[in-house]
């Protein structure tokens, strides 16, 4: 009897599971929200979510407080809920006035005067004034968080009247407009933030307590308001009822923090998400031919590069410019792009494709093994040499492990007689320290942009931060080193583009850096949407998306 009861109980449990699973058959779509939402709201496409747009993006949102935001994807949310003085409107090359109505640089380029637009209100109903702008930017500076360095060139801010903001810079900074587009420079409702523990005082790094509040709600003037944030799960944005501008027809965003590419692909095909931000080459291929789904492969501003130390004591043979050129000629750039993924490109130098002043891409047929061998022979290494190639083991370039690029470099250089011994270490396991201290002779590394402006690449110049990591001091190439200040001074876009082009011309076949690839982003989206595009500053600019 007991046996029967036990067996029956177990069978009932198995059947209950089965029924629960299959109970969804036929009704699964309606329960999963896809068809229900579409039907209830007269959705246009099977599997659509009505006037709600669901976005899947990788997790790792440590904060949504604009003053601290520096990770890659939180700007997607911050840009929806807050606004900045300037903005990249779909095109990433030059910032356009957003909250700013007009702006003017002083003759010495050390004062920037910005006039605000009229009639801007926050979601709270408060009117935006120049005091809010000054508060927000000084708070970011004084919080001394990751993005605070962007305020380094800002000495002080004056607000002579409610509509005028005067930035006093300690040095000319042609990238200041682009910095003012960054999520951390968002204008906050200072009254609300102060009421919740915010301060812009010099001791804000210890006294400001508004982060908890700003992690759960927003205090901006953007098209949307942050309704809820369930960490590592989802973020919900609803339309700002007091939005001063013209809103799109998307009522609500649900941001699913789901980083796995396979899961994103499946959810997109099922209509459970409308935009999948972190697809891969493989998952993009799986989506080929899926009805109602479109894909985007486009270069990001993240680059993978080879660094050869100019100090002979550290770099050994790779400190020799002839050897550097030989390596440059020996690299298989199209092969690097295959590893990097569809949509990647190879810029001529360290100013990325898509930036103001970019001079184009390195030709596919640039590789010349015979010429590389000849250069090595000229440098005194006719039989090549052995060398350690350092690589960071726990970092990736847009999802591709740095070790994959190191292996490809090793294979390419083996063809010209350079035998690389790959030395792999974790960032925290000594690699990071050695890299930052300029102790690595030959390494593969990546660089992501902190804000969307070509000036973020100036550290690669001799005498600058990254240049010095490669032992490249200003006195090694004074003419090139001088272009740093010249670029910072060029507040006129045409003039700046010209200097940036000059930098690329001078580093195309010269210097310790070889850009291997500019990595791509792979985005998939439901074709019921219009205006979906990958954006470097905001990842996805939701303020440009409409439902067809």
């Amino acid at each position: 009897m007991m046996k029967k009861k036990f067996l029956a109980g177990a069978l009932v449990a198995v059947m209950a599971l089965g029924l629960a699973a299959c109970g969804g058959s036929g009704s699964a779509k309606s329960e999963s929200g896809a068809e229900t939402a579409a039907a209830a709201e007269g959705g246009s496409t099977l599997g659509s979510n009505g006037s709600t747009v669901v976005v899947a993006v990788e997790s790792g949102f440590s904060t949504l407080d604009p003053g601290y935001v520096y990770e890659k994807y939180p700007p997607l949310v911050v840009n929806a809920c807050y606004e900045t003085l300037f903005k990249f409107n779909g095109k990433d090359d030059a910032p356009q006035p957003s909250l700013a109505d007009s702006y003017e640089f002083s003759e010495d380029n050390k004062t920037l005067t910005v006039k605000l637009k009229d009639g801007i209100t926050f979601a709270s109903g408060n009117t935006m004034t120049s005091a809010d702008v000054a508060f927000s930017i000084m708070r970011c500076k004084n919080l001394k968080g990751s993005p605070s360095f962007m305020c380094d060139t800002i000495d002080s801010i004056d607000t002579p009247d409610d509509k005028t903001v005067v930035f006093h810079l300690n040095t000319p900074d042609s990238g200041i407009l682009a910095k003012l587009t960054y999520a951390s420079m968002s204008v906050l409702d200072s009254k609300v933030v102060k009421e919740n523990g915010g301060t812009d005082a010099a001791d804000a790094s210890t006294k400001d307590t508004a982060q908890t509040y700003l992690n759960s709600t927003s205090a901006g003037s953007g098209m949307y308001v942050l309704t809820s944030y369930t960490k590592d799960e989802e973020i919900v944005l609803d339309k700002n009822p007091n939005y001063w501008g013209t809103a799109t027809n998307v009522d609500k965003y649900v941001i699913k923090l789901q980083g796995d590419a396979n899961s994103q692909m499946m959810m997109l095909s099922q209509g459970d998400v409308d935009v999948a931000m972190n697809l891969t080459d493989d998952t993009m291929a799986e989506l080929d031919g899926t009805e109602g789904v479109a894909t985007i492969n486009t270069p990001t501003k993240s680059i993978g590069f080879l660094m050869m130390n100019m100090d002979k004591n550290i770099g050994g043979p790779v400190a020799d410019p002839k050897v550097q050129q030989a390596i440059r000629k020996a690299i298989d750039y199209p092969g690097m792009r295959t590893i990097s993924g569809s949509g990647s490109v190879t810029p001529n130098s360290f100013i990325q494709v898509g930036f103001l002043g970019n001079s184009g891409e390195r030709p596919d047929d640039y590789r010349n093994v015979d010429e590389a061998k000849q250069l090595l022979a000229d440098a005194g290494y006719p039989d090549g040499f052995d060398i350690n190639l350092d690589v960071v083991s726990d970092l990736s370039l847009e999802g591709v492990a740095m070790t994959d690029f190191a292996q490809k470099v090793k294979d390419d250089l083996a063809e010209v007689g350079i035998n690389c011994n790959i030395v792999s270490r974790a960032w925290d396991g000594g690699y990071g320290e050695d890299y930052r201290d300029g102790k690595l002779g030959f390494t593969v590394m990546y660089w992501g942009t902190d804000y969307n402006d070509p000036n973020v690449q100036l550290p690669f110049l001799p005498g600058q931060e990254v240049g010095l990591r490669a032992g490249w001091t200003a006195d090694m190439d004074p003419e090139l080193a001088a272009l740093n200040d010249k670029t910072l001074n060029a507040t006129d876009n045409d003039a700046r583009a010209a200097v940036l082009k000059e930098i690329q011309d001078k580093t195309y076949e010269n210097g310790p850096f070889i850009v291997l690839t500019q990595a791509p982003a792979h985005v998939g989206y439901n074709t019921r949407l219009d205006g979906v595009n990958f954006s470097d500053p905001y990842a996805l600019d939701v303020t440009l998306i409409n439902i067809k």
């Binding site: 007991m2 046996k3 029967k4 036990f6 067996l7 109980g9 177990a10 449990a13 198995v14 599971l17 629960a20 699973a21 969804g24 058959s25 699964a28 779509k29 329960e31 999963s32 929200g33 229900t36 939402a37 709600t52 669901v54 440590s62 904060t63 520096y70 001394k144 990751s146 993005p147 605070s148 360095f149 790094s205 210890t206 908890t212 992690n215 809820s228 960490k231 590592d232 799960e233 989802e234 699913k256 789901q258 980083g259 796995d260 396979n262 899961s263 499946m266 959810m267 095909s269 099922q270 459970d272 726990d394 960032w427 925290d428 396991g429 990071g432 320290e433 930052r436 902190d450 931060e465």
Partner: protein
């Protein structure tokens, strides 16, 4: 009385062991190479000594290690696990957020694993060396050896992507908002909210990750049940009972299974402890905001307070579960005495 004394003694041990664990984990995390500033600040921010100094001061990293330890233990005595370096939120709040998600999934998984594991184990033992036994052995070996991330993707691929009979990743479908937090377990909270449709949706979201997590423990339980039942069935008292004419069914249910289940309880307890520690890969694939994801992100950002907090939580899980298992031993087999 013995049982009460036993539990009280265990509670004292528990507190002492937790402090021991806190000290051990504190020392270990400080010994591991890594600098929270390097892991949490951007490359450009790291070049600014003022930002680095402010970061260290904010998180108390500028103090000597012995002072950091003293402060940590002092806070721990007040049930304060410190503030997460990564999220700037109290660690207790973070654990309170992610543990219920893990607990709900782990509980579901262990129930499946226990029910199916014991069922298969008994069937397999009864039908020893038959075709059914072979099939069950294949299932249990597969369950133990299949990589969970692969199994997770496979389950999603077939049941969600191809057959459309199961919901996708996440704890709830997009049309539902999270229920008001009472226990943090969505099925229960949705029922308490009076939303049966939401509770059913939350339950359906448990099934695929639950099955994936159950597979490993189920395999272990099946094999343990089978081998223990076979051992017990070969003992003298069973032979005597059989000689006295006790039916095979009664023999198993009344005489053998109780004894065979004692080691199985240990496996179930360890399995639950293991599941409560969080499963990073399965949680990632199923977008489950549990302890595993939090632990992974904490380790990747050298977030000392969170790493210690998660370690203490895992230790606490095992200590509590082992105590419960020990108590259950006595209930299943009265010969077991509390000492």
């Amino acid at each position: 009385m013995d049982r009460v004394k036993f539990i009280l003694k265990r509670l004292v041990y528990l507190v002492l062991m937790l402090f021991g664990m806190a000290t051990l984990v504190f020392i270990l995390t400080k010994m591991i190479p890594g600098d929270p500033a390097m892991a949490n600040l951007s490359q450009r921010a790291l070049s600014d000594p003022e930002i680095v100094a402010a970061f260290k001061a904010k998180h108390g990293l500028d103090k000597p290690i012995i002072v950091q330890y003293g402060l940590y233990i002092l806070n721990l005595l007040q049930l304060d696990l410190g503030t997460s370096i990564r999220t700037n939120t109290p660690v207790l709040t973070e654990l309170n957020r992610c543990f219920p998600a893990t607990f709900e999934l782990a509980l579901f998984a262990i129930i499946i694993a226990a029910v199916l594991g014991i069922f298969f184990g008994v069937i397999s033992a009864i039908k020893r060396n038959s075709v059914i036994d072979q099939i069950v052995r294949v299932i249990s070996v597969t369950g133990v050896s299949i990589p969970s991330f692969w199994f997770a993707l496979l389950m999603l691929y077939f049941f969600y992507y191809k057959l459309h009979i199961m919901p996708g990743p996440g704890r709830l479908s997009s049309i539902f908002s999270a229920p008001p937090k009472i226990t943090g377990m969505y099925v229960l909270d949705s029922l308490l909210e009076g939303e049966p449709a939401k509770a059913l949706d939350a339950f359906r979201h448990l099934i695929l990750p639950g099955l994936v997590l159950a597979a490993f423990t189920m395999g272990l339980i099946t094999r343990t049940t089978r081998s223990n039942l076979l051992d017990v069935m070969g003992t003298d008292y069973i032979r005597t009972a059989r000689a006295k004419g006790v039916s095979q069914r009664k023999l198993i249910t009344h005489h053998a299974l109780g004894n065979a289940l004692i080691p199985v309880l240990t496996v179930i307890g360890l399995g639950l402890g293991n599941l409560l520690g969080g499963m990073v890969l399965v949680e990632t694939i199923f977008n489950w905001p549990g302890v595993g994801q939090f632990a992974y992100q904490s380790v990747m950002t050298t977030d000392y307070p969170s790493i210690i907090g998660v370690s203490l939580l895992i230790a606490l899980n095992y200590l509590v579960i082992n105590t419960i298992v020990d108590i259950l031993y006595g209930i299943i087999d009265p010969r077991v005495r509390y000492q």
